[in-house]
Amino acid sequence: MDARLSAEQEDLRDAAARLADDLGPHSVLDLADTDRIDRLEKAVTATGWRSLRSDGATGVEVALVAEELSRGLVDVSFLGPVLADALLALPGATMAVGDVAVDVRGRHTALTLDGTSLRRSAIGPAVAGVDLTRQVAPLAGAPRPAGEVSAELAARWQSLAIVVTAAEQLGAARGAHALAVSYAQLRAQYGAAIGTFQGVSHPLAEGLALIEGSVSILRYAAWAVDALPPPESLRLARIAKVYCSAAAQTVCETAIQVHGGIGNTWDCLAHVYLRRVLVAAELFGVRLEEVEVGLP
């Protein structure tokens, strides 16, 4: 029994963290900086991370990259392409759920999985989504068949999709939490940093515990994507998603509260994290009632 990351996995995580820190948006204003987005796009393309899965990466590795990119609010496509690539290595593709292509920036084709059947569609004009770091688009034209996947692959892919969206939530929660902690150290009232008051510090302490719990359940579920039989990996993926959704939403709400009035303005990054968490909750969403409670 060993729950540790390998040295290679730690290196991958660190590389993703560095890329996100260097080129991700550091303010709401940065979201409109197209030069930055171009540089970020080039950098992500150069890593080859959008085809991690077809290059043989495990669920753990895909989840680590998703978590770090989300922590840094990386606003070029990753989630959609990496999930599409897990089904079919098709350059320029992203994933569609129903008739909406998600995560379409720089993409021209959308894959849909229906049972074990793949379809591909062109993508219509991108529209601004609720998540300010990610564009969505309607499908354009009639979908065309794009082959079949095995039932096993389809089942594992479902677990992967749930796990990777949960990793997005964990990453965003970590980003929001770090933002709130720094603010609590800087902002002073009553002649002291607000982080010295228990009304502020205790919710932040709870947030860190929620983040640690999320790391633990997510890592186990991510490992299970490849290592356990599909029904068991799906069971754990759902549990991880329910936990990470609740934890991340709470952490982001705390981040807004800690920022006070500023936290409720458009210009504070706190809501950008919250939006990313909310959208990731709906994407391959899991309701609490779907969690299987085992009998003895």
């Binding site: 029994m1 060993d2 729950a3 540790r4 990351l5 390998s6 996995q9 753990v60 902690v181 609590a184 150290q185 002291a192 940093a193 982080g195 010295t196 228990q198 502020v200 510090s201 205790h202 932040l204 302490a205 709870e206 860190l208 515990a209 640690e212 719990g213 999320s214 790391v215 633990s216 359940i217 890592r219 186990y220 579920a221 490992w223 299970a224 290592a227 069971r235 754990l236 549990i239 329910v242 936990y243 309701r287 609490l288 009632e289 779907e290 969690v291 299987e292 409670v293 085992g294 009998l295 003895p296």
Partner: protein, 386 residues
């Protein structure tokens, strides 16, 4: 990374499972009865070679990797056996701070269960602010004489020894005047006045009055004034779910509640057909799984994965100090979620469920309150201190 058992771990698990299949039933007890036979259970587990797994061989341990404790906890819960005796914080406290002479004298009996222990830290006037304790130890020849009042002293009435904190120097700042002792509970100066918990259990909450109790000066742990360092080690380890062994027990309670729900709530076709789960779909026809139960299950699975992760990190020699406070919060939330599920599923008319719920309220107080854990996380990890 591989969460599965290695070959050696699998062999250990199988051996343990076989032993439990013939021994677990006679110890499957609850409430007060469990605690009166706790020593017997401890010794049986030890003699079979299944206790003290990660502790040094020279004191009776097995020097196995910490993950073996996870296997032990899982199998105990699965077999319906009582949890592993929670002694890690005492073993660690003595191991880190006592002289080799005291370690050799006391650790074997503590680990093999022939001598039973309690921990005399809290006092009526010194709870979260433990360092303000006033129990006094005054040198008298080769002894110290102890006067004071200890409270929340778990299982003090059945203990042979007490790891006691007392003030040896009232004239220095409060953290510096405290010393640790190993004192005998079998003497006239020790009076027991147990308290009854809100769950009705009357054997756990001890209260000890020390009125001229004596302890040889040789039983002091470290030097005079070293008591606060000992206290910090002990309480930090008291917070780790991995040393407590409760984690798997929560899973067992959740499974029991799911069975109660299936039996009472509906014919539960899925259970009758041997399907191992009440899924959202099948439950929809029979009424959905109560949200409290599903949430308790999610928390329990999280804690299980968390303990595995923490114990794995110990393979690298990583020791968690302040992180123990994070673990304690996660454990508290889990136990209290299971408590909420107990009353939601079984109702107050089920004495076992009610007792589980009421007992769960203590988890956010014992071993340092949840508020204190949050103070520690905020100041020592997040850098939000004054």
């Amino acid at each position: 990374m591989d969460y599965r058992d290695s070959a050696a771990e699998a062999e250990f698990r199988l051996r343990l499972r076989e032993w439990l299949s013939t021994h677990a039933a006679q110890f499957a007890l609850t409430g007060d009865e469990y605690w009166t036979r706790y020593g017997e259970w401890h010794r049986a587990l030890y003699e079979a070679g299944f206790f003290g797994l990660s502790w040094p061989r020279q004191y009776g341990g097995h020097e196995l990797a910490p993950v073996y404790d996870v296997i032990l906890d899982e199998e105990l819960a699965q077999a319906g056996a009582p949890p592993r005796p929670s002694l890690g914080y005492l073993v660690t406290g003595l191991g880190h701070h006592a002289s080799e002479e005291l370690r050799q004298r006391f650790l074997p009996g503590l680990i093999n269960g022939t001598e039973r222990w309690c921990q005399g830290f809290s006092e009526p006037g010194a709870g979260s602010d433990l360092a303000s304790l006033t129990t006094a130890a005054v040198r008298d020849g080769d002894d110290y004489v102890i006067n004071g009042h200890k409270i929340w002293t778990s299982y003090s009435d059945v203990a042979d020894w007490c790891l006691l904190l007392a003030r040896t120097d009232p004239d220095v700042p409060k953290h510096k005047g405290i010393s640790g002792f190993v004192i005998s509970m079998h003497q006239p100066g020790v009076r027991q006045r147990p308290l009854r918990m809100i769950s009705g259990v009357s054997t756990e909450f001890g209260q000890v009055e020390l009125d001229g109790a004596r302890v040889p000066a040789a039983n002091m742990i470290g030097a005079p004034g070293d008591g606060w360092a000992l206290a910090r080690t002990v309480v930090a380890h008291e917070r780790e779910p991995s040393t407590l062994g409760f984690t798997a027990r929560y899973g067992k309670t959740v499974r029991k509640l799911a069975a109660k729900w299936a039996a009472a709530g509906a014919p539960a076709a899925s259970a009758a057909s041997g399907d191992s789960a009440v899924s959202g779909d099948s439950a929809a026809a029979d009424g959905p799984t109560p949200a409290e139960l599903a949430w308790a299950h999610v928390q329990t699975e999280m804690l299980y994965a968390h303990v595995r992760r923490r114990l794995s990190e110990q393979l690298d020699g990583v020791t968690h100090t302040s992180d123990g406070s994070l673990d304690k919060l996660l454990m508290t939330w889990t136990e209290q979620a299971v408590g909420h599920a107990s009353v939601a599923v079984a109702g107050t008319g089920d004495p076992e469920a009610l007792a589980d719920y009421l007992y769960s309220r203590a988890q956010s107080v014992m071993g340092g309150t949840a508020q204190i854990q949050k103070n520690i996380i905020a100041s020592r990890i997040l850098g939000l201190g004054k």
